[in-house]
Each structure stands twice: as structure tokens, then as C-alpha cells.
Amino acid sequence: MVDATYSPRPMRFKIRNLRLWLPLLWIVTLIIAAVFAPIFAPHDPLAQDLMLERLPPFFIDGSEPGHLLGTDSLGRDVLSRMIYGARIALFVSVIAAFSTGIFGSTLGLIAGYYGGWWDRVISRLVDIWMAFPPVLFAVLLVAVIGTGLTSVIFAIALIDWTRFARVIRAETMVQAQMDYVDSARIGGARRMATLLSEILPNVLPSIIALLALEMGIAVIVEAILSFVNLSISSDDPTWGSMISEGRGAIHFAWWVLLFPLIALFLTVLSFSTLGEGLKKQFDPVLK
């Protein structure tokens, strides 16, 4: 009666491979470090000590035991600044990705399912929006509405909602063609109910994948804006501002640049790999 190839139930989290676990491990580490930053950070991230400036990391001669990853030009502890930087990076990425995702996906779902006039207006808006070069857009925007984390988040959502809108619109259109949507309608379901309870669960894997990707993008954008001094005040420890400061001292203190850069790289990579992996995990039919 039941197929011999009995496949696993959907939505169950299955241990597949390292491609999923390694990114997850990195992100969980990051989250723990960020949440418990005051406990894990060996030093005050803002504390300067000009006697201890440009100390190298632990594996190089001349390092100090208290400063595992060395210090910067002002004698601030690199590891502590990175841990506090993770706080800002994660905060921005979560809030920005979710605002972007909710806004963009809603428009994508409406355009894809209601079609007609809705679709024409939303699709045209997406086209116009995408004609702007995004980084320039972000810089201009923050320059106009002022610097700070809220502006950074706002800028990300305002630029990147089109990514969600486009992908989710296309996927919604595919789902809307399926017979189960007709069946729900014949069964008396209202359009909105059909969209939310029949179609949305089917495009959710894509939304989740895009969210993860968007978190990675948000981390980069925040770093870029910090790098050009358009995020929060440059004293605050963000990875971007560390990279920016480290750049000036690259010949005598390369670690100030390198470690935040690695953290940034790993985080972005983890988010996008995780996004892909999650999409597969959540997809019951494994297309």
C-alpha cells in the first residue's frame, strides 16, 4: 500500500553532513560569544593601554598572555573587540534580515498569487529599485538619514527586499498553479487563507534559505558601512571598523586587520551555506 521507498517525514532535522554542521557550529559559537560577551571577553573592548600597543597574537614572539589575539594601535584587546563586534554583527544581521525578509516576502507572495494589477505594480517597483547600484544606495541613504545601527538596518531592508520579492514571487507563481490550490478554493477557502495556509508553507524553505543568506549580506553591509565610518561611532567595536583601522597598520600589526576579516568571512560563508542546507532540510520532497 505504502511506497517501498518510505521517505522521512518532512521538517525533521536530520544529521546530513558537515556542510550543515560546520556553519552551524560557527554561528552557534558566535551567538554564545555575542550573548555572553561580558563573560568571554578577557578585556574591556574600549580600554586603551598605550603601554601595550600592537602586541602580536599568542603564537608570535613578544605576545602577552592576557592578549590572545594581540592588541591594536591604541592597545585595545583584539579578541575582546571581536567578541563585542560579533554582538553588533549578529544583532544587525538578525533584525535586518527579518525586516527585509518579511517586507520582501509579503510583496512577493501578493504579486505571485494575486497577479494582475498587484503583480504589475510590485514587479515594476522591483525593476526600478534594482536599477540603483546597491552600495551607492546604502551609502547615500545612511548619509541622508544619518549614521547609526538603525540606519544601517533600514538601509539593508530598503535595498534588499527586492531579492525576497523576486524569488518568492516566482516560487509563489509556481505553487499557485498546483492543483492543491484549486482544491482548497473549491473547498471554500478564501484567497488570503489559501495564500497563508496552503502556499506559504511551500515557499517557506526558500524564505528561510534567503533569510540565512540575507544575514550574511547584512554582516557584510554593516562591515562596509563601518569601514567607511557610516555605521555606529568608530570607537564601538565592529568588525568593519576594526578592519578599517587595521588597514592603516597592516605593515606593523597585520593581526588587527586579519582576525576580524576571517571572522567576517567565516560568518558570511556559514550563513549562505546554512541557507542552502536548510532549504534542503525543510523541503519535504527534496526536489
Binding site: M178, Y180, D182, S183, R185, I186, G187, G188, A189, L204
Partner: protein, 297 residues
């Protein structure tokens, strides 16, 4: 509300049109008595599914009814507001779709997919809906209903999904079921059982069925009336026995002749003659010309 003496379905001069004015259905008329099975036959693209979609109010976006009437149990569907129309259709009708793979939502369990309309539209309690669903699953020979109700569609075979869809369609004892090539996607052994199940349940519930198929063999087995379609036009409308014993239209004869017989290996396969197709297309063209003149007047 419903006229007891009314036909289950009455379609009068139905025209269904693309946004550019191209007609997909051309003055289609047909009717269905209570408890009757009417086959809609014709080649792929003849407009069979479009009739079902127009009746059930699920025409694809952009495609609309430009002229004509659909009466469901005596109620003029065009005269209703969209919300009332939806409710009327939901209360009286159901669909057995062609592809059992996409007809069930892959991310929802089977159970609620069947019981949702029963509780939502027919106002049944959850318990009553479940009991009726179990009863119907049993009728379509599904042995462990509770396990099935807790499954996701991809955990079941195609034949099983189609039986579930049949159970779901008959569960509220609807007055009308549109069965859109319900056996086409299945292999031959399963086809027979599915046909038999639809036939049995249809007799028990007294449901009128619009049975879409391109297979004259199936027509002979299941229907009392036949509508033959070509290019969105009704070519012939007659009782099933007459269609086979004394078909009026050359196209109907050609369709019957083109049907593979049990001894298909000895008899040559005879496709519909191209000259006849060309003739039918000329008729459609003339018809469309008349239609546009009528529209421009």
C-alpha cells in the same frame, strides 16, 4: 434555495476568453441531471478541463467567462457575488483532479486536507468530519485510515493518493463532481479500480459527475451521456449508447475509430483524418467571425 427539480448543472452558451479576446470555449451548452454521469471527450486542448474550471470557479487568472450562463442546482452563478458564488460552489461541488501528485499539498498532512472543507463549508464538527472521512477511506479500500490521515502525500503511492482524492471528493456527498481525467496519470491496473470506485460511490451518493476523458473506452464504461468537443466547440451531444451505435458527426466516428481496441495488435490504428481536422478548423473560423460580428454590433 435550491430548486429540487432543477438540473444539477446547466451550461448555456458558455464562452470563455483569453484577455486578447481569443475564445477557449465557444458557445458551449450542456446539462447534467442529478445522479447522471456525462463524459466530456475530445483531444488534448479541446477545452474539456476549461469547462470544469469555469463551473468550479477556478479559471486561471486572465481567463474569464465572456458570455453565457452556468446554473448550479438552478442557481445562476454569474448573478452571485464572488464570495457567495464560492460558497455555493463549495457547498455543492467537488473536484477529482488529474494529477494526484500536485492535487494534495505536499507540506500538509492528509487528514486536515480532507476534513478542512467539511468543517469550514459544511459546518460539521471535527469528530463528524473525521468519522465520515474514515468511512470514505474505508470505502476506497484504504486499510489503515488513521495512519494515512497522519501521513504526508509523498509517503503514499500514486494510486493511493488518487483513492484519497476520490474519498475527499465524495465525503460531503456533493451534488456535482468534476472528475478531470482521474485515471490518466495512473497505470492500467490501477485505472480500472479507480473507475470502479468512482462508479460505485457515484451510484451510492447520487452525485452528478462531469467526467473528463480522452479515452472512448472509459466513456463507454462510465457515462450515460457524452459531449464531444473540438477546439472549444461542442461537436456532438448524445446519450452514450447512441454515440457508439449511431454517431452523427464524422469527428465522433473518427474518435471511436482511433480508440485502441483489445485486439489492437491485429487492427491498424486509425488516427483522425487530417481533412476532417481542417474542416473542423474552418467551421471554428466561421464561427469566430460570426461571434466577433455579433460582439461589434
Amino acid at each position: 434555495m435550491n430548486n429540487l427539480h432543477a438540473k444539477t448543472l446547466d451550461i448555456i452558451n458558455l464562452n470563455v476568453t483569453l484577455p486578447n479576446g481569443h475564445r477557449l470555449l465557444r458557445d458551449v451548452s450542456l446539462s447534467l441531471d442529478p445522479g447522471e454521469v456525462r463524459a466530456l471527450v475530445g483531444e488534448s486542448g479541446a477545452g474539456k478541463s476549461m469547462i470544469g474550471k469555469a463551473v468550479l470557479g477556478i479559471l486561471p487568472t486572465g481567463i474569464s467567462i465572456s458570455q453565457g450562463e452556468i446554473l448550479l442546482e438552478g442557481t445562476h452563478l454569474n448573478a452571485l457575488t464572488p464570495a457567495t458564488r464560492r460558497k455555493t460552489i463549495a457547498q455543492t461541488s467537488a473536484l477529482i483532479p488529474q494529477d494526484p501528485l500536485t492535487a494534495l499539498n505536499p507540506v500538509r498532512k492528509i487528514g486536515p486536507q480532507i476534513t478542512d472543507p467539511l468543517t469550514r463549508i459544511h459546518g460539521w464538527t471535527k469528530a463528524r468530519a473525521l468519522a465520515r472521512t474514515r468511512e470514505l477511506l474505508d470505502r476506497v479500500h484504504i486499510r489503515n485510515p488513521d495512519r494515512v490521515l497522519n501521513s504526508y502525500p509523498h509517503e503514499l503511492s500514486g494510486g493511493m493518493r488518487q483513492r484519497i482524492l476520490i474519498a475527499a471528493a465524495f465525503a460531503p456527498s456533493p451534488r456535482l463532481i468534476v472528475a478531470d481525467e482521474p485515471t490518466t496519470a495512473l497505470d492500467v491496473t490501477v485505472q480500472k479500480e479507480i473507475l470502479r470506485l468512482i462508479r460505485e460511490l457515484q451510484r451510492e451518493t447520487g452525485t452528478g459527475v462531469l467526467f473528463v476523458t480522452h479515452d472512448m473506452g472509459v466513456v463507454a464504461k462510465i457515462s450515460q451521456k457524452v459531449t464531444v468537443l473540438f477546439g472549444g466547440r461542442v461537436v456532438e451531444d448524445a446519450p452514450t449508447h447512441r454515440i457508439f451505435e449511431n454517431p452523427e458527426h464524422a469527428y465522433t466516428r473518427a474518435l471511436i475509430a482511433a480508440t485502441p481496441t483489445p485486439n489492437a495488435s491485429t487492427e491498424p490504428f486509425r488516427p483522425v483524418p487530417p481533412a476532417l481536422i481542417a474542416e473542423l478548423h474552418r467551421e471554428i473560423q466561421a464561427d469566430d467571425d460570426r461571434f466577433s460580428k455579433r460582439a461589434h454590433r
